[in-house]
Symmetry: C2
Subunit: 209 residues, 2 copies
């Protein structure tokens, strides 16, 4: 199973590394970190991740996964990226996104009319692309699998292992990465977080836009 992760400048590292840690543990997975060229790519803040191959040299993918991040905006008109996503949507079994990566899939036109999700702060924007936006943690509609913000990519990746390799493979990996979450607060969604925390997050997002 050839799995490609789109790597690009200012991606959110956990959007990529969360699902990568799950999917790269599938016994027959061959993982590719794909960008315009192999070599280092500066993600958000201090993290630099190395692309292992180029769009031209990557093998045909069984699964493409597109992470989100502040760099997503400047990719929206990147013709090579858009063509690559459209190509995968034609030939791959799975086309997936984490967080605002869904906006790249939407901009490429492949989510039109589909049920999908994204980071809670980007749901309205995603709806503007004729996408049926859901508040679920992850959504699977045909070959398109999208997750909510950042950490939701871990949940989606386990679901993808379940669907492609079965329950036991997914449970095995969940146990290896000891994914038995117990955050000190229950503030991980706008429905659950204190209202002043949500308001401040919205204000912060407006400032960055």
């Amino acid at each position: 199973m050839d799995i490609g992760f789109l790597v690009y400048p200012r991606l959110t590292p956990l959007d990529l590394v969360g699902p990568w840690e799950v999917l790269s543990r599938v016994s027959d997975a061959s993982v590719h970190l794909v960008w315009t060229r192999p070599g280092p790519v500066q993600a958000e803040r201090e993290i630099e991740i190395r692309a292992t191959t180029s769009f031209a040299d990557a093998p045909p993918l069984d699964m493409l996964l597109v992470p989100g991040g502040s760099g997503q905006l400047s990719l929206m008109r990147h013709a090579i990226v858009m063509d690559y996503i459209r190509g995968c949507a034609r030939t791959s079994d799975w086309v997936c996104s984490v967080c605002t990566g869904a906006l790249l899939l939407a901009q490429a036109g492949v989510l039109r009319g589909r049920r999908s999700t994204t980071h809670w702060l980007a749901r309205e924007t995603l709806a503007g692309f004729s996408v049926r936006v859901s508040n679920d943690r992850y959504v699977i509609d045909g070959k398109f699998a999208t997750s909510a913000g950042v950490t939701a990519g871990i949940d989606l990746a386990l679901e993808l292992v379940r669907r492609t390799r079965g329950d036991e493979a997914a449970q095995q990996i969940q146990l290896q990465i000891e994914y038995d979450p117990r955050p000190p607060f229950d503030a991980g969604s706008p429905e659950k977080a204190p209202s002043e925390v949500v308001a401040r997050a919205r204000a912060r997002a407006r400032r960055f836009r």
Copy 2:
């Protein structure tokens, strides 16, 4: 707040990137990825992460975080790493580990007599260092904060934000990374996973040892 993450060959990427994604969002955090020299370091499988500074050039840290990974074993007799950990244990406010990173702290001698935890498959080994091993998701004993395997680092990092910057700062970051976990199975600990999945994980770990 100067926060340093130990970067080393064959670390488990999510051990580092999970807590990094939380702690690097603290508004006054200055984050350093520390190794013997700045430059690329080959983590497990395809991921390469760039160290931003050397032990010699890193500023005095307020917090050190040591991730786990298969490369941890070959660091156990690495005098510079051991000295660095001991130095931080003297001068930093917090000395933390994720997963088998606790074995590096234990080997450096700083966890002796302390309550600590590690990846469930490494608990027996950790107990051999005169450490009081706990099955908790994360444990804080004085300035020493240790977490269970891989994804537990995210929970610990949120707790560290809570303790150093308050409830609202931790909730704000939890909401930003939409950490409202919903894995498709409840198989993330040896107490919860089906017994045959646990047995297979134990067998697999023996084979790698």
